[in-house]
């Protein structure tokens, strides 16, 4: 079993033009183990994506206080590739497009980066595993021969993120709004992929606006985030409550003095 801990995490983004530093996360605490699925819900502009990028180690986000630990070891000094090899995965909201590098070549490089130089994955083994995962995600073979995300539709990109997740088999996967822009069929397919990963050696942190995704990937724990903090945690029923009352309702129940971005 592995454990991912976020302790009193404060994160700021730096505006290069104005050389201003703006604090986005104001003390996030979160602990999860493999075998668990956690969901983080919250209104726009509340720091959900910032949390995912900070855990992964995006250099654009600056940790000003607190810590992120994997099995008790701090990740903060590790660059993003080391964190990935240590077992983290981030399915991104906006994956980069890279012309000239095929999807399949990229995935092999990612898998081989976790193996010794003299123990690279045999081609046949790789292809079998790939075919199996493609079938689960209802993706065609030609998707993997195409250049990485180049010219992919929004839905294709999301599926491709989940394909990578299934190929790489991380300990912890953070899914950042994997449901945005997906129709109901694509949502089911993506959920199927994530559910196929469920097991004692896998944990996931699912970031979403909507309860809908959580009908398909049922979480063990739901956290509500507002204004850079986790303000409430509970079981799957919390997501339903949010759906019924909206974020403003939860805020008012908790008596928080927080202005929501989309509030009229």
């Amino acid at each position: 079993m592995s454990k991912l801990e976020v302790k009193n995490l404060h994160v700021a983004v730096v505006d290069e033009d104005k050389s201003l530093q703006k604090e986005i996360l104001k003390g996030v605490d979160l602990t999860m183990n493999t075998g668990e699925i956690h969901a983080i819900m919250g209104p726009n502009g509340t720091g959900k994506s910032t949390l995912s990028q900070a855990i992964m180690g995006n250099p654009a986000y600056k940790v000003t206080e607190g810590d992120v630990l994997l099995d008790g070891k701090s990740l903060l000094e590790m660059p993003v590739d080391e964190r990935a090899r240590a077992g983290l995965f981030l399915a991104m909201q906006y994956p980069a497009e890279i012309a000239g590098v095929t999807n399949i070549e990229f995935m092999r490089a990612a898998i081989n980066a976790r193996r010794a130089d003299d123990d690279q994955i045999p081609v046949l083994e790789f292809m079998k595993f790939l075919d199996k995962n493609l079938a689960t995600l209802d993706m065609s073979d030609d998707m993997v021969e195409r250049y990485l995300n180049e010219g992919f539709s929004g839905g294709e990109k999301k599926r491709n993120e989940i394909l990578q997740l299934m190929m790489i088999q991380p300990k912890f996967a953070i899914l950042d709004e994997i449901d945005s822009g997906l129709d109901i069929d694509a949502l089911k397919v993506v959920s199927k992929g994530v559910n196929a990963m469920r097991g004692p050696e896998f944990g996931s942190l699912i970031i979403t606006h909507y309860q809908r995704l959580l009908n398909y990937i049922v979480p063990d724990t739901v956290h509500v985030m507002m204004d850079g903090r986790i303000v409430e945690s509970g079981g799957p029923e919390l997501a339903e409550k949010l759906e019924a009352e909206g974020y403003a309702g939860v805020r008012d129940d908790l008596g928080l003095d927080v202005k929501l971005t989309d509030e009229i």
Partner: protein, 434 residues
């Protein structure tokens, strides 16, 4: 009054020509150019400063053999090739041409054999059409000190399916100039794919002077690819010149993977109506070298098409300059000149330049250009690294993607794979000090 050195060169050039049983026209041309070259101007290329390079510091031309065993270090892969010429220094190591092609009148042989066996045919095309001997100091020098090369002739109506391959290896195990001439003639309505490789054995600081001519007659189609890998100690002038008649097509795909200082002079003259060229160049520059690349297409005939695409990567404290020159002359109505030059800088010590130059003397044309000098995209790097790929490998992937649109244009898979491997080698070397 002639100096002693010049007199010595005259007799040495004469003796060298005689030793190869060259016809009179070639010996006389050599001697004429030997006399003229010092007074001729060096070719001028925007922003490329190479004037002080030792490109005309000749050694006495003498006939000397090179040891084929040296080539083992290069790992050349030509055993399976049916049509291949391998030269090392002045020595011909292998010369093979499919007998069926020979029966159709195809000629592919080293230049000295060609001038002896086909003197009239060589004389008709040798520096008469694509480039003139006295075009500049370096072409004249080339003519005088020429000591190797090849001749490829494809007769009328002949289509060659298998690629023709040339490997021209510089012997720098000793002081010796490498002055190579490759003459490719595709006669009316013929088709050929030709690829060539240049490399160096040894560490001596020598000069290389390469002139390649491609003459494509009416309706001929030539696919030309090249990988140049001269050593760090070699200072090179590389000139590739094309001349296209009516509806001829010439596709260039060139990888400039040299390790030393190189000035590159590409020009394609679209002379005939409807002639078409696609020029694709990739370059990787490392160490403290300068690769200055001037790529020109001249639209002379009506409805001609000239496209230039150049992508380059600069590492360490090296410099790369891409000039793209599209020249449409008056009267070349309905012609099209397009170009794109892009440079990626991986180091803060690197210097790079991409200069688009359009010279348009005709109104009824289409023309366009794009140029950029940039750095590796941070988002792409973050994305690749977020999957566990280390920084250097991620960088090489991004770069390979960036060079990819030229790589995919190379017709022969073997050449493409070899160029990919060469790029990988050069990038890995360049990354060591980063």
């Amino acid at each position: 009054m002639e100096t002693q050195a010049e007199i010595d060169f005259q007799s040495a050039v004469s003796a060298f020509s005689a030793a190869h049983s060259e016809p009179d026209w070639l010996r006389n041309l050599r001697l004429d150019m030997l006399e003229k070259y010092p007074a001729l101007a060096l070719p001028k290329f925007e922003k490329i400063r190479y004037q002080r390079w030792p490109l005309t510091a000749a050694h006495q031309p003498t006939v000397q053999a090179s040891a084929a065993a040296d080539l083992a270090t290069l790992d050349l892969d030509y055993a399976q090739a049916k049509n291949v010429l391998v030269t090392y220094g002045e020595s011909v190591i292998t010369s093979k041409l499919d007998p069926e092609l020979a029966a159709q009148g195809v000629i592919f042989t080293d230049l000295f054999t060609a001038v002896r066996d086909y003197p009239e045919l060589v004389e008709k095309y040798f520096m008469t059409t694509a480039v003139k001997p006295d075009a500049n100091r370096l072409t004249a020098f080339h003519t005088a000190f020429l000591n190797g090369g090849a001749f490829l002739y494809v007769p009328k109506g002949v289509t060659i399916k298998e690629p023709i391959q040339g490997y021209y290896i510089q012997d720098s195990t000793r002081p010796q100039d490498f002055v190579q001439h490759v003459l490719v003639v595709a006669d009316t309505n013929s088709q050929v794919t030709y690829s060539e490789n240049y490399a160096t054995v040894g560490t001596e600081a020598n000069l290389a002077n390469v002139v390649v001519e491609v003459v494509a007659a009416d309706d001929a189609q030539v696919r030309f690819s090249a990988v140049d890998q001269f050593s760090a100690a070699t200072t090179a002038y590389i000139s590739r010149q094309g001349n296209l008649a009516n509806d001829a097509k010439l596709d260039w795909a060139v990888g400039l993977m040299n390790d030393g200082n190189v000035v590159v002079d590409f020009n394609t003259d679209l002379v005939g109506h409807g002639a078409h060229t696609e020029v694709k160049v990739v370059a990787v520059t490392t160490g403290d070298q300068l690769q200055g690349i001037d790529t020109r297409v001249t639209n002379l005939g009506q409805h001609t098409i000239g496209h230039i695409l150049q992508h380059g990567v600069i590492l360490e404290s090296s410099a790369l300059i891409f000039n793209g020159v599209g020249h449409i002359v008056k009267g070349a109505r309905g012609s099209d000149a397009q170009q794109e030059s892009r440079v990626l800088m991986l180091s803060t010590h690197a210097r790079g330049d991409a200069n688009p130059i359009l010279l348009i003397d005709e109104n009824d044309v289409t023309a366009g250009h794009a140029a950029s000098v940039g750095r590796v995209d941070e988002e792409q790097m973050y994305y690749l690294m977020s999957r566990g790929i280390d920084k250097k490998r991620a960088e090489r992937l991004v770069i390979r993607g960036f060079l990819g649109n030229v790589l995919t244009e190379i017709p022969a898979k073997r050449v493409r794979d070899q160029l990919t491997a060469t790029i990988e080698r050069k990038l890995e070397n360049g990354q060591k000090s980063e």
